[in-house]
């Protein structure tokens, strides 16, 4: 009975945060199949650690941090270090967006240094402040602020303005 209720509760968490975890993973690795792997790893860690939280915001922050960490681990793999040099993803590994400027942005984000992608996503999509991102990622506010500034500068160059 207890096991069943644990399974149901975990299922609810997976369904609730599925989009958020997948988007954040994709934002960093920009590959569907790699985001799939990270997605599974995040939720497997969730059941392995079985953490408890005092609020949903705390749970969300935990999932964000683990997703970012899993993505970092992904970037450290030797295989990935080699294949990213190609900068070209197989067609079935990408999303095709409805507007041309969205596809252009996707291309630009592929060129953006991976270490800046998570802060860009947390700031522009999840709507977190620099202070909140620093807290979630356990980094200094100055580091997050610098990463955002450098990311904006890179994107400005790639997109020829518009940031």
């Amino acid at each position: 009975m207890e096991l069943q209720s644990q399974c149901t509760a975990t299922e609810a968490v997976v369904r609730k945060y599925a989009d958020m975890v997948f988007r954040l993973a994709f934002a960093q690795v920009r590959s569907k199949s790699d985001a799939d792997d990270i997605f599974q790893e995040v939720f497997l860690r969730y059941i392995r650690r079985n953490p408890s939280f005092e609020s949903e915001e705390h749970r969300k922050a935990w999932l964000i941090r683990v997703t970012v960490n899993c993505s970092k681990k992904f970037w450290s793999s030797a295989w990935k270090r080699k294949v990213v040099l190609l900068k070209v993803a197989p067609l079935d590994d990408c999303f095709s967006f409805s507007l041309p400027e969205e596809n252009e942005l996707d291309e630009a984000l592929r060129e953006l240094a991976p270490k800046y992608r998570s802060v860009v996503h947390l700031f522009y999509y999840e709507g977190y402040s620099v202070e909140q991102i620093a807290k979630i990622l356990d980094q200094k506010q100055s580091t997050v602020r610098t990463q955002l500034t450098r990311a904006r500068a890179q994107l400005y160059k790639i997109l020829k303005g518009e940031v």
Binding site: L3, Q6, C7, T10, E11, V14, R15, A18, D19, V21, F22, R23, F26, A27, K32, S33, D34, A35, D36, D37, F39, Q40, F43, L44, R45, I47, R49, N50, P51, S52, F53, E54, H58, W62, K73, F74, S76, S77, A78, W79, K80, P90, D92, F95, F97, S98, L99, E101, E102, L105, D106, V120, H121, Y124, Y125, K135, D138, L155, E162, V163
Partner: protein, 356 residues
């Protein structure tokens, strides 16, 4: 403008429903099957083992003479399907350790792959070798995958792993190439279960130095009852030098009463490279065991921003009056790993079926 475009693009990024459903299935399976499969395999009765050995001896003459001994292992693990395995024998060597893809077997939407790791220079590969989350499987189709150790040969210092990949969505597995890579593994794992902790609980009084820390995790059987006490921070004992080490790599760095509750603090150095963990329980004079009411974790660095000096502290909190502690003894169960080995092992190989 940028924000709007970024949001609009991301709204279209959603996980495949099959991925979500498979993940939930996987999680439910993990919850039900709490023990690792290797343990189940080792627990098989002697009679079955004897039968499998008989299978090996019967089947061995049919094998080519140069088939490595490890290939025969597949017969011991899965005699019914061994004939369907396609030999691969692609390998790579790094840090004195060879990783070899032995054979693959594709059936329906599943690929089973046997991989062996053999240490030629030291005893780093052992029967407890665990790839934990340091391996990656790159494949050009959506799928779920897992890896488990299925056997260990002491004579050749070889651990064999079975990777199972299940494809989703109708992509043909056969003919695909996959890359399996490992960047590190842990071994020399030990379990210390229900061991007495030789600390005099009568000295665990109050008046200890405490401090407030940001917590990185919290949990426990009765955590919900106490969660109001915690926000993002908690009052913990100021870590001292090791008072007692119940297992190699795990130190007790504090024990005492804080706000009327017993706190027991442990420290694990460099936890990212080890899988050292454990828990405590109190046993009363009637042999009734009582686990902690909740626990919290926090992290400190011996040197700022130096990941290699990271220390993970766990504090176990028991809501037990000091007067009741006199009749209790402290016990714990701990799980440690002594070796962390890094390398760059990577093999790319095709998934083929056997030709007849």
């Amino acid at each position: 403008m940028f924000e709007k475009r970024y949001k609009s693009m991301n709204e279209q990024i959603i996980p495949d429903q099959v991925l979500v459903d498979h993940t939930i299935e996987l999680i439910n399976e993990k919850r039900v099957n709490t023990g690792p499969k290797i343990a189940q395999f080792l627990r098989k009765p002697l009679a079955i083992t004897a039968m499998l050995l008989l299978c090996i001896f019967i089947a061995m003459p049919a094998l080519a003479a140069d088939v490595p001994a490890i290939y025969a292992l597949i017969y011991s693990v899965s005699p019914a399907t061994a004939q369907f395995f396609m030999p691969v024998q692609e390998s790579c060597m790094d840090n004195g350790i060879k990783m070899e893809v032995i054979a693959t077997y594709i059936h329906e939407d599943t690929a089973e792959i046997y991989i062996a790791m053999q240490d030629f220079t030291a005893g780093r590969v052992d029967e407890t070798t665990d790839l934990f989350d340091s391996y990656s499987i790159h494949r050009p189709f959506n799928s779920s995958a897992h890896c488990e150790q299925v056997s260990y040969d002491e004579a050749t210092k070889t651990a064999t792993f079975l990777i199972t990949i299940t494809e989703w969505g109708g992509h043909k597995i056969e003919g695909s190439k996959i890359t399996f890579s490992v960047s590190s593994f842990i071994s020399d794992k030990h379990e210390y279960e229900n061991i007495p902790i030789e600390i005099d609980l009568s000295k665990a009084g109050g008046g200890h130095k405490t401090k407030t820390v940001s917590i990185t995790g919290a949990g426990g059987l009765n955590y919900e009852k106490y969660q109001q006490l915690l926000k993002d921070s908690a009052t913990v004992l100021v870590p001292s030098a090791a008072l007692y080490s119940p297992a190699a790599g795990i130190d007790i760095t504090g024990i005492g009463y804080v706000d009327g509750m017993l706190h027991i603090q442990t420290a694990v150095k460099n936890p990212l490279k080890k899988d050292n963990h454990g828990y405590f329980f109190l046993r009363d004079r009637y042999s009734h065991d009582r686990t902690d009411d909740y626990s919290i974790s926090f992290i400190e660095y011996a040197e700022p921003n130096n990941e290699d000096t990271r220390i993970c502290y766990d504090e176990y909190i028991f809501d037990i009056p000091q007067s009741e502690l006199a009749g209790c003894a402290l016990y714990g169960s701990f799980y440690t790993s002594g070796l962390y080995t890094e390398g760059n092992w990577q093999v790319t190989f095709p998934l083929k079926t056997q030709d007849y």
